[in-house]
């Protein structure tokens, strides 16, 4: 009894201690978003920059301008492709890590985390060295005699997809691995014993059980891809423009805060809608059945 009182007392103390910090965090996160939300309904005035108002014109401009529509759809496409690539490449690695008995497992995980310690800009610079006209790939292909003139690899959507996928892959693998780690792989043997080949075993047993991990990893990686900034700027150049660099340009270079704010909100809402919907779909398909 006295223990119960102490426990609830200490949890109340904990809550009261966490309260001020929580308020500060909430303000730090929410205030900029709310401000942006408000700005996005203002008007742009070339002289005074921003005029208080309440108009949907910024949103209308965005969706009626074919340039911005392309920025938007390119961003969605790149994010979707990178997420899918990360899932397809990450799953086998996560699966191996979850099942392996090797004593080098912790080293493998450190290797996986290592790229996260190097900033995106530095890694993008690395890709520039590899993909540039005089870069490693072109040099090798010319040396092999496959091509005579260097291919244009850098400043293309392909370069952005490669660079972004490389950035998000560790996040996908670590998320999947943490879920796969919890699977009792005897179910795999049970399925094989009941007559399923490896293919069927994977798609009917392992994948559905891993669905929560797939949902979490996909959501996390998709959000990261949608909001990528450094990688698309450095590797995409003028070949492809994505939302984050484009809206930064509006705010910082064109000083059009209302339009930049509306782009930011469109990006946030689109990201959230797609991430939550897909994760909800995966949950409805696989996860609900396991927890009900």
């Amino acid at each position: 009894m006295s223990q119960g009182v102490t426990a609830s007392g200490s949890s109340r103390l904990g809550m009261s201690l966490a309260f001020p910090a929580s308020i500060v965090v909430l303000l730090i996160i929410m205030v900029p978003i709310l401000l942006m939300f408000r700005y996005s309904f203002n008007e742009f005035d070339p002289r005074t920059m921003m005029k208080e108002g309440f108009t949907l014109q910024n949103y209308i401009n965005f969706f009626t301008d074919s340039y911005y529509r392309k920025v938007f759809t390119d961003t969605l496409s790149v994010a979707a492709i990178c997420t899918l690539l990360a899932l397809v490449m990450g799953f086998p690695v996560a699966y191996f890590l979850a099942k392996t008995q090797t004593r080098f497992k912790s080293i493998l995980i450190i290797l996986l985390v290592f790229p996260l310690m190097v900033g995106n800009v530095v890694r993008a610079a690395g890709w520039m060295v590899i993909l540039g006209n005089a870069g490693a790939v072109n040099a090798l292909l010319i040396w092999l005699g496959v091509i005579a003139e260097p291919l244009k690899l850098l400043y293309t959507p392909l370069a952005v997809v490669i660079g972004t996928t490389a950035v998000v892959l560790p996040f996908m693998i670590l998320t999947l691995q943490s879920v796969l780690e919890g699977i009792d792989f005897a179910v795999e043997e049970a399925a094989r014993n009941l007559g399923a080949n490896q293919f069927t075993t994977f798609f009917r047993v392992i994948l559905p059980i891993a669905a929560p991990g797939v949902a979490a990893g996909t959501m996390l990686v998709f959000i990261l891809c949608m909001n990528a900034y450094a990688t698309p700027v450095l590797l995409g150049g003028s070949g492809i423009t994505m939302m984050a660099p484009s809206l930064y340009g509006q705010i910082a270079k064109a000083s059009n805060w209302p339009f930049g704010s509306s782009m930011a909100l469109i990006l946030v809402v689109a990201t959230m809608t797609i991430a939550l919907t897909s994760s909800w779909l995966i949950h409805r398909r696989y996860v609900k059945t396991m927890t009900s």
Partner: protein, 355 residues
């Protein structure tokens, strides 16, 4: 169901020999238990029969077919795993249905066989539940139904009772035995629990260090163990080391002379089961050792008494409750008795290799 033959089966992991030269014929409808301490190779052998492990050498026959190189999913064995391994994302009915779907059995027939299998283990009313909504015993039953619904040629059980509590373990054990006999299932049952193996099996194979020590019916193994390992593993025994001194006479190292039936020249050790030894205040039977009680363990229906004789020889005695408490003399540490047994109660061993 079919007969299973293991021919000189061997499995090596690197330089470690897990199973060596295992040959055994399991008859149609027979339940054979593989019994041994952990690491003896029993599970490895079971997994070789199921096809999860490829033998290094030797052959496996199910019926008349050599399945040594047949992949797991085409072997048609029904396995129950130690931790059940039910599919957590499928209902009970779907779990049972899985193997039938793999065999492309049509929906109507599938439904019939799901019902049949679930009825068999009394789990019909749980068909729409998920595994996590079931108790351990219920999950076990579903695992059995799932393995049997596919009408396998061999029924394989890998320590299926080790995760159940004591009372449930007895219940499920008896159910498995009843089911196995009713359906005439050729069954291999892996366990480290000797009592389980004794109660369940038609025959048992006792394994140690990758080698089969002895194969036989439970009573023959218990009454006539082939070596000290089998004797020691299947219950307790009092051992007397020494040598043959004359016909039917064994001289222990401590200098006691015992009358022993079935004596051979190479006898090195004599063993007597604890329940074959009786206690009395005057010498009885062929052999009587004057001994002091060291400790008494009260087990309810039985009493375990540990004694030590004047030569320092340890004797363990297992008395039925009625016998222990009808005598006038209380059995307690320090009391002195004669420990008596017949020459025919002795088992003769020709080696001293207990481990």
């Amino acid at each position: 169901m079919a007969k299973v033959s293991l021919l000189n089966l061997r499995k090596q992991f690197g330089s470690a020999v897990a199973v060596s030269d295992f040959s055994l014929d399991i008859e149609d409808g027979e339940l054979v238990a593989f019994l041994g301490p952990s690491g003896c190779g029993k599970t490895t052998t079971l997994r070789m029969i199921a096809g999860f492990i490829d033998p290094t050498a030797g052959r496996i026959l199910i019926g008349d077919t050599d399945v040594t190189t047949v992949p797991v999913h085409k072997r048609n064995t029904g396995m129950v795993f130690q931790r059940y391994a039910l599919f957590p994302h499928m209902t009970v009915a779907h779990n049972v249905s899985f193997g039938l779907e793999m065999r492309k059995i049509d929906a109507a027939e599938r439904d019939r066989r799901i019902n049949l299998a679930l009825d068999m283990v009394r789990m019909s009313e749980y068909r729409d539940r998920y595994p996590r909504q079931l108790s351990g015993g219920q999950q076990q039953r579903v695992a059995i139904a799932r393995a049997l619904a596919i009408e396998p040629k061999v029924f394989l059980l890998d320590e299926p009772l080790s995760n159940l509590d004591a009372k449930l373990r007895l219940e499920v054990r008896d159910e498995i035995r009843a089911l196995q006999q009713r359906l005439g299932l050729t069954t291999v049952f892996v366990t480290h629990d000797q009592e389980e193996a004794l109660a369940l099996s038609d025959r048992m194979a006792i394994m140690h260090d990758g080698k089969v020590q002895q194969v036989g019916t439970p009573d023959s193994l218990y009454e006539k163990p082939a070596n000290l390992f089998v004797a020691d593993f299947l219950g307790k025994m009092s051992f007397f080391e020494g040598h043959r001194s004359a016909d039917s006479t064994f001289l222990t190292q401590a200098g006691t002379t015992l009358k022993v039936d079935g004596m051979t020249d190479r006898a090195q050790c004599i063993g007597v089961r604890p329940e074959r030894i009786s206690l009395s205040s005057a010498p009885e039977l062929d052999n009587s050792l004057h001994a002091t009680v060291e400790s008494v363990a009260y087990l309810g229906a039985n009493i375990d008494v540990a004694l030590i004789d004047q030569q320092g020889q340890k004797i363990s005695c297992h008395l039925p409750n009625t016998q222990a408490y009808q005598r006038g003399v209380p059995i307690k540490p320090g009391s002195i008795f004669y420990a008596n047994f017949l020459g025919s109660d002795c088992v003769v061993f020709t080696d001293l290799d207990r481990a």
